[in-house]
Each structure stands twice: as C-alpha cells, then as structure tokens.
C-alpha cells in the first residue's frame, strides 16, 4: 500500500513539474499571439485575450506602403540563401580534408577550430565595424554574408568532420583502387553519404540570419538594407513609434515557420553533437 502510495506521489510530482513547465513555456508565446490580435498599437491597454480581435497588424505588414516588411523578408532570404550555400560548400571541403587526409598543420588546425568556436565573431566587433567601414562594406548585405560564412566554418567543420569520420574508409579506398580521383571520391561517395549532416548545416545556417540580431545591427545602417530581426526590433525600440502589437504580429510570422523546421531537425543536430561522445 505504502509503496503504491509512493509511486502515485512520485507520478504526481513528475507530472506536476511538467505542467508547471508547460505553463511557463507556453504563457509568453500565447501572450504574444494574443497581443498581435489587439487592434491598438501600444502595450498599454493591450490584453492577452482582446475584446475585439482583428488581423489588422498582419494586413498592415503586407499591404501598407509604409511597411518595409516584405523588403526585410527579401533581404533576409538573400542573406540566408547565400550564407547557407557558402557555408555548406566551404565547410564540406574543409571537413573532407580534415577527415580523410593527413597533412602538415592538420592537428593544429583542429585545435584552432576548437579554440575559435569559443570566440564569437562579436568579440571583434570594434574591428569589424572599423574594417568594414574602411573597405566600404559597411551597410551592405555582402559584408554581412561574408562574416556569417567565415564565422560558421570552425563549429560546422567540426560537426561535418565528425560525420565523415563515421563513413567507413573502405568505401573511398576501394573507389580509389578503381581509379577515382580526389574530387570524384568527394562528390560520388562522401557527399551523398553525408547528406543528413549537410542538410543540417545548410538549414541551420539558413535560419541563423532570421534569428541573429546583433551582427546586422552593427553592419547594416539604412532601413532598406535591414534584415527581419533588425527591422522588427526597431518597431519596439524606435522612440516615437512604439508599436508592440505590430512587432508581435511580425514576430509570429517568423517564429512559426522557423520553430517548425527547427523542431523537425533538432535531433539531427543533437545526434551530430553527441555522436563522438557516446561511442565510448
């Protein structure tokens, strides 16, 4: 009896913790959605469950001539596609070299990657700002893309290298016996087999520009170059145009697609991150 009692109490405790977490997690998200349906513009007087709800902020974002929302979407897509393609290409080349070849500087290179993972590009923001200013890439999407691609190399190269390491060497060695060259092995054996991890790298680098706020903030100056994150931030931050409900609407429209893709993909990322560790 007492054992059964203990069992029940434990279950109550566990489900209780989970329910508390559900409330804490879902409340802010639902609150944002409710807010985006409020007809007013400011935080004051807005309710989570509005009396007379409307989609007018969503309509405004897409149709009002003053709204740059679509332009920001376009900028973000340009940056996202270029950064994603660039990062995937560079990363798979580097990872292939580090996984399959032994060359001078390989070990130090691996250590350098590990070290550079720790230093966010942001730490050099003083320098990035001054340098981009000097070469005329400040306030340009190209400058932003270059920094995303370069910054993505260390961490992602590690991830992909780890995956390449799990592909049996016999496969590419037998292909070499049959006379396949270096690039042929890369394109016909390694890359097709590493599709899952490459997809993850591509998608995460695609999503980064949607989520990142600070690099665009440093690099982009004029509103027509803004990415979504930066533009939306200015909805809340601009001193005389505090438009929280509009911000909420714009955010919901980014958060939903990003979250869905993310939830579908996160286990591949986790798998990649822990693969080296769980073998032992």
């Amino acid at each position: 009896m007492s054992r059964k009692m203990k069992n029940t109490l434990e279950l109550v405790g566990m489900y209780g913790s989970v329910i508390v977490m559900f409330i804490v997690i879902l409340y802010p998200l639902l609150w944002t959605f409710g807010l985006s349906l409020n007809p007013g513009s400011s935080l004051f007087g807005a309710n989570m469950i509005p009396d007379n709800w409307s989609f007018k902020h969503y309509v405004w974002l897409f149709t009002n001539p003053d709204s740059d929302y679509l332009l920001w979407y376009k900028n973000t897509l340009i940056v996202a596609f270029s950064a994603s393609i660039g990062a995937t290409v560079f990363v798979s080349l580097v990872a292939y070299a580090f996984s399959r070849y032994r060359f001078v500087g390989r070990k130090n290179g691996l250590y350098a990657f590990l070290l550079l993972q720790m230093f966010p590009v942001l730490m050099a923001m003083v320098a990035i700002y001054i340098l981009l200013n000097l070469v005329g890439l400040l306030d340009s999407l190209l400058g932003l893309i270059l920094i995303y691609v370069g910054g993505a190399i260390p961490m992602n190269a590690f991830l992909v290298k780890g995956y390449f390491d799990t592909i049996p060497r016999e496969l590419d060695e037998s292909a070499r016996m049959d006379g396949a060259g270096h690039f042929r092995v890369l394109f016909t054996i390694m890359l097709p087999l590493a599709k899952p991890i490459l997809a993850v790298v591509a998608l995460f680098n695609f999503m980064a520009p949607f989520m990142d706020f600070i690099l665009p903030r440093i690099i982009l100056r004029s509103p027509e170059n803004y990415t979504l994150a930066l533009g939306l931030y200015n909805f809340v931050n601009a001193q005389f145009a505090n438009n929280f409900t509009r911000f909420a609407a714009g955010s919901i429209l980014i958060a939903i697609p990003i979250s869905i893709v993310f939830l579908l993909l996160q286990r591949y990322l986790i798998g990649g991150l822990t693969s080296g560790a769980t073998k032992g």
Binding site: L122, M123, A127, Y129, H182, I214, L232, A255, S259, G280
Partner: protein, 427 residues
C-alpha cells in the same frame, strides 16, 4: 641499386641552395617544381614588396602626416603584412624541408617515375591544401584578422577625440589597461561589471543545466506517458528565435504595464516589482529568462544521452539492490557528464559572452551611479556601449582582450575534456 652518381648527390648543398626557393629543387633535377617555386618567390617579393614595406612602416609609426596618413588603414596594412609574412615563412620552411628530403631520396638511390607520375604525386600532396585553402583564407580575413586588429587597437589611443583620418593614432603601450585599473571611474565600473559577468555566467548556466537534467531524467522515466509531446513542448523555447522571446519578456517584465506586474503580482500581493529600474531585480529577471531560453538545448542533449545508456547497467544495479539515488549518482550522472562535458563548457563560454539577452532586455540598464556601464551590463555589452555609444575604441579593445584571456581559460578546460575522445580521429 644506387648508382655512384646518385650517391654523390649532396644533401647539404641542396638545402643551402634552396635558401633561394627553387634552386635546391632545380639541383635535385625537379625542374618543374623548382621553376614554380622560383617564380612564386620572385612574384611574392615583387608584388608584395610595397605592401610589406608600407605595412611594417605603418605598423611601427601609425603614420606621420595627419589627414594624409590614415592610421587605421596603416594598421590594417601592417596586420596584412604580418599575415603575409607568416604565410611566406611557412612556405619557405616547407621549401627547405622539401629540398632536403628530395636530395636525401636521390642519394639513397630513389628513381623518380615519369613526368605524369610526378605531377600526380604533387597533386596528391597538394590536394588537402587545395581543399582547405579557400576556407582558410576566408577564416583568416573574417575571423582572425579582426581579432588581431582588435588586439592591436588595445595598445593605441583611439577615441572619438582623435579619430583618424583627421588625427594620427599613437602606440601607448599598456596605458589603456593601466587606466582600467587605476582611474577610479574605470576601475569601479570594470570590477563591478566583471563580478556580475562571472556571477551571471556561473548562476545562469548552472541553473539551466540543473533544470535540464531534472526534466530530462523525469521525462525519461518509464512510467511517464506522452513523452513525445512533452519533449516537443520543452524544446519549444530553443526553437523560437531568441531575439523575439527576449523582447517579449522585456515587455512582460515592464514595470508599469507588463503582464507579470499587472496581471500576476499586483492582484496577488498588491504591489509590483521594479523589474527594469532596479539593478537587483533586473538581474533576477535576466537569470530567469536565460534559464527559460537555455535549458531546452541541454535538455535535448541529455535526453539523447539518456536514451543511449544501456539498460543492463540499471538491471545490474537492481540486482545489487541499489536505491534510485545511488543509480542516478553512479550510472546516470557519470554517463551524462562524460558524453556532454565539452558541450557544457561551451554553454558557460557562450553565456559569458551572451550579448543578445543583456542588450535586448534592458540595454544593460538601469543606469548606476559612479560607473559608466549599466547595472546589468556584462563585459561584452559594455564593450558594445563603449564602441558604439561613446566611441572609446581603444579601451573597448582592451576590455575585449581581457575577455579573450578569460575565454581562453574556458578553452583550456574544453581542450582537456575534448582531447580524450577527439584524438581517436588522429592517425
């Protein structure tokens, strides 16, 4: 079958000759390689002579004529000169080693194959460099170059007052670091910001790992149902873009009309808490938000590891009559830690430099007397303010350098933890 001629081949001579890159290779009768080396080194000295010359001159003087010489340009040319030099030195040493090795081979009677095989050999050796080359160049210019530039800037006197090109910068040695430690306002700010940064890193990260571990263990319990649904919801905060949630929390915590004060605290206790205007409560709010944002990633990691622990461990422990706590302490916990330690250290490092949350929540505010950073500013957000609000570039760079040193400590631990299993990839 070494012929007498090959035995006379002089290894020393080959190495000495290759002091001028290419000559040694020519002596080794590797004509194509030798001429390529010769051409590369000639081209390098001709093309880059000016850059190196101006670069080093600029690096030492930072310019002599105001408005004509831009110290920033000179400094970056100087760094480019340094990077080029290190590339050149690497090539040079490789060239010496190569000439020496080839000469040794010839002396030992090694016969080269025909031209085609030689080219193929060269291609095989060069291939990994061809692969890594483009990535390396990008990495050098986008990541390493700015980091170096920042490091150099820390030893100049770059502020708004004497900003180039109107003025010249000067090397001031450790002056910036000295004033951080001696000028009262800088010293006060520096130490209070540093203390809060360390507390923030330790408390927020440890709590987020603790919560993640608790939740991962209970959700993994065999009696729990709806596991998939629960896991999906628990990962949700990680999936929603961070800048959105931080701004939303900033609104929720708003002193006057935020929902937390207006809808929860006021009706229950009759008064709200000054979340944004009181440094202490702002810090509490920040830590709470960071736990909300950060635990799902660790939770996902732990869940992945828990599912991979073999059930035999637990069966054996049951046989021995181990209590649940003993099982957790001796089986679950070590497994979790062994598999994720490097990633957990990375979590600490990331929180240490977690600019987004500090800046978006309250821009480092509220303002505090006797210091020029806000009450919740951590080092990196203070650096941001110094750079973009008050243009104190060189002090900002000096603080960044200190940041870098602290991160290096994290990196050291990371190496020690990672080396154990990353080494398996070596040879």
């Amino acid at each position: 079958m070494a012929s007498s001629k090959s035995r006379e081949h002089n290894v020393k001579l080959a190495t000495i000759l290759s002091l001028i890159p290419g000559l040694g290779q020519l002596y080794n009768k590797r004509y194509i390689k030798g001429s390529i080396f010769l051409i590369i080194s000639l081209a390098f000295s001709i093309v880059f002579y000016d850059i190196l010359n101006i670069g080093y001159w600029g690096l030492f003087t930072l310019g002599t004529i105001p408005t004509v010489d831009d110290s920033r340009v000179l400094l970056s040319q100087g760094i480019i000169a340094l990077i080029l030099t290190s590339f050149a030195l690497t090539f040079y040493i490789a060239n010496l080693v190569d000439a020496n090795r080839d000469a040794q081979k010839i002396k030992d009677g090694f016969k080269r194959g025909n031209l085609r095989e030689t080219i193929r050999d060269a291609w095989d050796t060069a291939f990994p460099y061809v692969l890594t080359g483009p990535g390396l160049v990008l990495l050098v210019f986008v990541v390493i170059f700015p980091l170096l530039f920042m490091a150099f800037l820390a030893f100049t006197n770059y502020t708004l007052m004497n900003s180039p090109p109107k003025n010249l910068l000067e090397w001031v040695g450790f002056e910036n670091f000295k004033s951080l430690l001696t000028v009262p306002i800088w010293r006060n700010t520096f130490f209070s910001v540093l203390a809060w940064t360390l507390i923030w890193t330790f408390v927020a990260t440890t709590l987020q790992i603790g919560l993640a571990m608790y939740l991962a263990v209970i959700v993994n319990d065999s009696r729990m149902r709806f596991k998939r649904l629960i896991r999906t919801v628990l990962i949700l905060p990680w999936a929603v873009p961070g800048f959105v949630t931080i701004l939303i929390f900033s609104a929720l915590f708003n002193d006057n009309f935020g929902a937390i004060n207006r809808d929860i605290l006021m009706p229950l206790f009759g008064s709200g808490i000054p979340w944004l205007s009181d440094p202490f409560w702002a810090k509490v709010a920040l830590i709470a938000i960071q736990i909300w944002l950060g635990f799902p990633f660790v939770f996902a990691l732990f869940t992945g590891v828990l599912q991979s622990i073999s059930s035999e461990w637990y069966e054996a422990a049951d046989m021995d009559g181990a209590s649940r706590f003993q099982k957790f302490r001796n089986i679950t916990f070590p497994h979790l830690m062994f598999a994720t330690a490097p990633l957990l250290i990375l979590q600490y490092a990331q929180n240490f430099n977690n600019f987004n949350i500090i800046y978006l929540f309250n821009q480092g505010g509220p303002a505090v007397k006797n210091q020029n950073a806000g009450g919740t500013d951590i080092l990196i957000s203070w650096v941001y303010d110094l750079t973009f609000e008050s243009s104190q570039f060189s002090i900002a760079a000096a603080i960044s350098l200190i940041l870098g040193l602290i991160v290096a400590v994290f990196a050291f631990f990371q190496f020690r933890k990672t080396a154990s299993f990353k080494e398996e990839g070596e040879m």
